[in-house]
């Protein structure tokens, strides 16, 4: 079984890898590249724990093949903080207790960032529908939604 | 004398249907020992998988816990929880 050679950019760094044609991007990230921040909760695109951003689009890592990453720009949870500075979403999630067990947290953060990158002023309903593809079983979503709304307001304030 | 209360099932199965018992003893283990003299064989059912409420305070795996002279001591199924 011959492997596919893939050249891509992950969190701003050029990365090359060899993968089986059946491997998902999530498998490659977790098993080959050691980037285990993206989680596998279902393997079928239902839970969003593997959310990553590919060329600016929010994608479930478990639904995209490794081979499809050729030439793509991939952002994962590991690239969200700038050096030792947490992204405002990361910071507010901790401060506002928007996580309990934390397994869904990387996915929520990546998805929330994708939302705020394109819509800096979302309504609560927009946040809830955007994040409807990310499952959380611990929090009842309340504190997650509040944190995202809060960060959106904060980012709008700094942008002014 | 402590007032020992068995759950309905315990009473029916091991204590001839009697729910309430006046039992002397300073510790839970003494109560169990005395009850076992009255109802041979009951001790093993009261010592494992059982919770004991002494005056309304819940104890798991109680054995050496002290019992007051007028205490109400209830034996009931143990509680695990999620």
């Amino acid at each position: 079984m011959s492997k596919t050679h893939v050249t891509t950019t992950i969190n701003g760094e050029p990365v090359e890898f060899l993968c089986d044609t059946s491997q998902t991007v999530l498998d490659v990230l977790r098993d080959q590249l050691g980037l285990t921040g993206s989680k596998e909760g279902c393997g079928s695109g239902d839970c969003g724990a593997c959310s990553i951003i590919v060329d600016g689009r929010l994608v479930c890592g478990c639904l995209m093949l490794g081979a499809e990453a050729e030439g793509c720009r991939i952002e994962t949870i590991e690239g969200m903080a700038a050096g030792d500075h947490l992204h405002p979403l990361q910071k507010r999630f901790v401060e506002m207790a928007a996580l309990q067990c934390g397994i869904c947290t990387p996915g929520f953060l990546v998805a929330s960032k994708a939302l705020l990158d394109r819509n800096p002023n979302p309504t609560e309903t927009e946040v809830r529908y955007w994040l409807a593809g990310n499952l959380c079983r611990c929090t009842g979503y309340d504190k997650i939604i509040r944190a995202v709304m809060d960060v959106a307001a904060e980012l709008r304030e700094t942008a002014r | 004398m402590a007032r020992v209360i068995l759950s309905r099932s315990f009473a029916d199965l091991y204590a001839k249907g009697q729910v309430e018992h006046e039992v002397p003893g300073l510790k839970v283990r003494h109560l169990v020992r005395t009850l076992d003299e009255r109802f041979p064989g009951i001790a093993k059912h009261l010592e494992n998988g059982v919770a004991v409420a002494i005056d309304g305070v819940l104890h798991q795996n109680a054995w050496l816990e002290e019992v007051g002279l007028d205490s109400e001591v209830c034996f009931m199924p143990a509680i695990e929880g999620g």
């Binding site: 977790r30 285990t36 921040g37 989680k39 909760g41 279902c42 393997g43 079928s44 239902d46 839970c47 994962t76 949870i77 590991e78 947490l86 990361q90 901790v94 401060e95 506002m96 207790a97 067990c101 934390g102 397994i103 947290t105 309903t125 809830r128 529908y129 994040l131 409807a132 499952l135 079983r137 611990c138 929090t139 009842g140 979503y141 309340d142 504190k143 997650i144 939604i145 | 209360i5 759950s7 099932s9 029916d12 199965l13 998988g49 409420a53 005056d55 309304g56 305070v57 819940l58 104890h59 798991q60 795996n61 816990e65 109400e72 209830c74 199924p77 509680i79 695990e80 929880g81 999620g82």
Partner: protein
């Protein structure tokens, strides 16, 4: 309300594991790897009930890359006895059959064999090469069908426990239990209004987002290391020790961060299998369940039938209550029918009560604990019936509950007389909440329900180590599901009088701290919190001794205040207070390291009560229920970290909303689970919900130094009835069966239309 003032208790500092969890650095079950590890996969039964005639693994063993294959033959037979496995009572004969089927498969998804191979692809190929010859048997899923004469029998040796004389015929009813108070027949004779109804629930899954995962490494000298995602690594050790005949000291279990459990990760599925595969192959073996395996083979909770009868006088005094609860245990005995029976009427002060429970096996995965196990099922029935009673009597549902509320001195139907409890305070808080004080919006309807859970204490160990710079490490042995590290560190900081940031909590493996019972039952902040407080007290005692040595006075002459040793009075002498860091720096000269340890069986867990309020609308055409507003009110004793207390209340409420409106296991005619995935087993998503408001009531538990009761279990108890009660008021239809999913709601509305038109 709490009268004491605290520096840390009741504040909202950042959790100690926060940064790791928002950066992807935290390591969960599937994130552990070892060099040279193999991939383990399980072959599962496609049948609900079948005899295993033969298993041929020879072709799989020959496949290149396969390093080990195991079946039930590789696990020692166990006696049919109930034994403690780490503090839990388990029947080993059943547990070994649940992790690997022996004579029979008992449910769709039951493990039959497992392989370890160099890659996942090879492992999957090997599973396909294992030939299992089955003789398919008739199956039974539904609890009432399983109880009937002539039902397919799961276990030929099973006789109903708790019935005299002991039955001689094989049955699926594993146990009958009875609770009684007063004379229920006489009680009902006093009743002027009687509500009698039969309710049902479907099985629901805990739905943790992280699938089960375990990595095991067995070495040639008999030692075993396990990394797994669990609510109790000491239980993993206990189970593996018993199931594989390995001494506990030879097994070291390290818990990963846990991606949700809710009771479902208190038992073992993969760990013993991974160990056995590792022993046979001589390599580390990693096993991770797929989501489908999680649904088909790991613990959901019971489905149940609840028959409730409640009698009251016209003035709203409940005079008698009766309840029958039958719960599915799954393939092996052991449903939470005991707590279901005990919780049923625990909220109310009623003179005459009778409750009967049945534990029933059927061809479904063996149930595991799920948040307040059993209570949500019986309380769905009881709280719906109470609401119907309120409507019949024309009473406000909170007033009716207040009139009958259990309080200090109320004797429960399961035995104990309540000590200090806060149900009345919780009801009053619900009544005066902003939500209840606001009129319901046009088009919406309001429902209310209450719930109870005992909370649990049990065994905990903890240690506190003072570093050479005076900062403190707090070591405990309970996996942190929802922020317990923060609450433990806060209690330690409070007790020591130092900054929260100076205290670092860690969770130790089974070889690095003494025994701890599972994280569950809402016990960690209470019981392990007590152990931490005691360990810190020991540190403080030692610090006073060290200060006394430095000052050359008696230890009794030293007091500890605000993180400093001070002379107890001016009589002692003029000494500058010594800080923790000063004493730590002098530790070598004054007697060596300063540490404290504590171990205990925490007694006196404080009962918790909750009241939930929901406003919702029902779309009469589609049957879709839209929740507009939701409030959870609960007595938590003392909220150590209010944000995580609120989080527990919100999360539990939303799990309950899912149970009420959507979640259910759906089996086809062959007994195969039809919806083993998040697409078809629909848990609530963000767009289904409003914000979940919380009202924290604090009636401190006298058995805990900070008054902790526990919080996580209670909030899943009221939601189903609260939602059902609101739907009843919205539609005029009393729903008796969960879930109240759109097809069921619209069908019921359609069925009622001609009747309503005729009236």
């Amino acid at each position: 309300m709490s009268a004491r003032t605290y520096k840390w208790i009741g504040t909202r500092p950042n959790r100690p594991d926060g940064a790791d969890k928002v950066t992807g650095r935290a390591r969960f079950g599937a994130d552990f790897n070892m060099p040279g590890q193999l991939v383990g996969k399980v072959l599962r039964s496609p049948h609900a009930h079948a005899l295993i005639k033969s298993i041929d693994t020879s072709a799989a063993e020959k496949l290149a890359g396969v390093k080990a294959v195991v079946t039930a033959k590789d696990f020692p037979e166990q006696e049919n006895i109930t034994v403690p496995a780490g503090e839990m009572q388990v029947n080993l004969r059943d547990v070994t059959r649940n992790i690997m089927a022996r004579e029979k498969v008992l449910y769709d998804g039951h493990a039959v064999a497992a392989v370890a191979a160099t890659t996942e692809a090879v492992a999957k190929e090997a599973l396909a090469l294992i030939k299992v010859e089955y003789e398919i048997l008739p199956h039974v899923i539904d609890v009432e069908a399983a109880m009937k004469d002539g039902a397919p029998i799961l276990h030929d040796h099973l006789r109903t426990e708790g019935v005299e004389p002991k039955p001689t015929k094989a049955t699926n009813i594993a146990k009958r239990i009875d609770f009684a108070k007063g004379d229920v027949a006489a009680g009902f004779r006093k009743a002027e209004v009687v509500v009698e109804r039969k309710f049902t629930t479907q099985p629901v899954h805990q739905g943790y987002i992280e699938p089960h995962a375990a990595l095991a490494s067995a070495s040639e000298d008999g030692q075993v290391q396990v990394w797994s995602t669990t609510q109790g690594h000491f239980q993993v050790r206990g189970f593996c020790s018993r199931l594989l005949n390995i001494e506990t000291s030879q097994i070291r279990v390290t818990p990963s961060e846990i991606g949700g459990g809710f009771g479902g990760k208190t038992v073992v599925y993969l760990e013993p299998v991974a160990i056995r595969l590792s022993q046979k192959s001589g390599k580390p073996v990693k096993m991770v369940m797929t989501r489908e395996e999680v649904f088909r083979a790991s613990g959901p909770t019971s489905a149940g039938v609840v028959e409730v009868k409640i009698g009251a006088t016209r003035d709203g005094r409940i005079v008698a209550a009766e309840c029958m609860v039958a719960l599915q245990a799954g393939a092996f005995p052991g449903s939470p029918v005991g707590p279901a029976c005990m919780c049923s009427f625990a909220c109310y002060d009623i003179d005459d009560i009778k409750v009967v429970g049945y534990d029933v096996v059927s061809n479904r995965p063996k149930v595991a604990a799920y948040r307040a196990p059993g209570a949500p099922i019986s309380c769905w029935g009881v709280e719906s019936a109470i609401d119907e009673l309120a409507i019949e009597l024309g009473m406000d549902p909170i007033e009716l509950r207040l009139k009958n509320a259990a309080k200090q001195g109320t004797k429960t139907h399961y035995g104990p007389t309540f000590n200090r409890i806060g149900f009345v305070e919780t009801l009053e808080a619900a009544k005066s909440s902003p939500h209840y004080q606001t009129p319901v919006k046009r088009g919406f309807h309001r429902g209310v329900a209450a719930g109870f859970w005992f909370n649990v204490g049990a065994d905990s160990s903890a240690a506190a180590h003072v570093g050479e710079d005076g900062t403190v490490t707090v070591i405990s042995g309970n996996p942190d599901i929802g922020g317990s590290r923060a609450s433990l560190a806060m209690m330690a900081a409070e007790e020591l009088g130092v900054d929260y940031e100076k205290v670092r909590p860690v969770i130790a493996d089974t070889s690095s701290i003494g025994f701890n019972f599972v994280t569950g039952g809402s016990r960690v902040t209470f019981a392990t919190g007590l152990a931490v407080v005691n360990a810190v007290k020991e540190v403080v005692r030692e610090l006073k001794i060290r200060a006394a040595k430095i000052w050359e006075v008696e230890p009794e002459a030293v007091v500890w205040e605000n993180g400093m040793a001070k002379p107890a009075s001016t009589n002692v002498g003029e000494f500058e207070p010594l800080s923790l860091s000063q004493l730590a720096a002098m530790a070598g000269k004054t007697g060596g390291p300063i540490n404290g340890h504590a171990q205990l069986n925490a007694q006196g867990a404080g009962p918790g009560f909750g009241v939930h309020i929901v406003d919702l609308a029902v779309d009469h055409d589609t049957g879709i229920v839209t929740i507009d507003r939701y409030t959870a009110v609960q007595d938590v004793g003392t909220a150590i970290h209010p944000s995580y207390v609120e989080g527990q209340m919100q999360g539990g409420a939303v799990q309950g909303i899912g149970w009420a409106l959507n979640e259910e296991y759906i089996y086809n005619a062959k007994g195969k689970l039809d919806n083993p995935g998040f697409l078809d087993y629909r848990i609530p998503v963000a767009s289904d919900l409003p914000m979940i408001e919380t009202v924290i009531v604090e009636v401190p538990n006298p058995s805990h130094p900070y008054g902790v009761r526990g919080v996580g279990e209670v909030p899943i108890v009221p939601p189903m009835a609260a939602v059902g009660n609101a739907i009843a008021r919205a539609t005029g239809i009393r729903f008796l069966d969960l879930p109240m999913s759109p097809p069921r709601v619209s069908a019921a509305i359609d069925a009622a239309r001609p009747k309503m038109a005729a009236e």
